[in-house]
Subunit: 177 residues, 2 copies
């Protein structure tokens, strides 16, 4: 089965975005001269799984940023054709997390970057996340879209490493046993 | 004004206890041979502020563990006498966070250990927390009593330091600017 990997930033109080989706609290703390490891992470991934919200946000960028195949999990989009300029790059499907991983495994993909709050939560619930790299920004924002949600049971993790950056960002990697 | 300091452990998903208050997820990951810095922290504190829930939990211990004066903020307890064996050690009051800090400052206390979820949240809202030392346990528990809550505005923090322990606990200290 394909293994899922999370690489995401949160506020210290665990939000990945404000209620309206904005990231000013994070972007204002980013230091362009610091390498937070995204390029090294994405180089190890074979494919990307995201939800509709994440897809639509990325779709609005001037250029499609991903060089890996992207699977968008969405009931709403699954009946639609992929836009012409994304043909061969993006697949829409209404899969469950398990079905998504089976689909990706059938294509020979070993490691999937799992992105977006609700998608991460549903993959965690299904125990399909192998590693979590969480970059914490030094700010409390009080409300927003949480990274984590309810779980059917505890998920024990193993701490793999932590590094702190001069910007104040702190990045830890945790691995599911 | 007295400055507030938080020293607390959370699950990776930000809970300080399960919904029923239990800490098994934390205690099972504690390593008695690791020094997580509590003694050094408490040695710098002049006094302790907590809510009724925290007081009642500690009151059930075989011995009262604190050598510093404890201020318990509780409307319910503020009308009651302090138990005889805690006379001179504990004060009950219905103070707001600001009143509590003024009361402590009038007694010459510079640094207060602020403990317990709701009390920490109310002191954060009032911008009366100077530092947060958060020890993260390598587990997601899915639900429980959150450390953080809503805020009237962002609270920017400065990362002071992070250390990881062989047990998998990761401890960061953040300071309010």
């Amino acid at each position: 089965m394909t293994r899922g990997h999370v690489f995401i930033a949160t506020s210290l109080d665990g939000f990945i975005a404000r209620p309206d989706g904005t990231l000013d609290w994070l972007l204002s703390r980013d230091a362009p001269d610091e390498d937070h490891g995204y390029d090294a992470f994405i180089a190890r991934m074979d494919c990307i799984v995201m939800g509709r919200g994440c897809y639509e946000a990325v779709r609005a960028f001037p250029e499609w940023p991903y060089t890996r195949p992207v699977l968008v999990l969405s009931h709403q989009l699954s009946g639609q054709s992929v836009p012409e300029d994304l043909a061969g790059k993006v697949t829409f499907a209404a899969h469950t997390p398990e079905q998504a991983m089976q689909h990706l495994a059938a294509q020979g993909h070993l490691n999937a970057y799992v992105d977006g709050g609700q998608i991460v939560q549903s993959f965690l619930c299904a125990r399909l996340i192998d590693s979590l790299t969480i970059t914490t920004a030094p700010v409390l924002i009080g409300q927003g879209r949480p990274l984590f949600g309810a779980l059917p049971q505890d998920i024990p993790l193993r701490h793999e490493g932590t590094r702190a950056f001069p910007s104040g960002l702190v990045q830890s990697t945790w691995r599911a046993d």
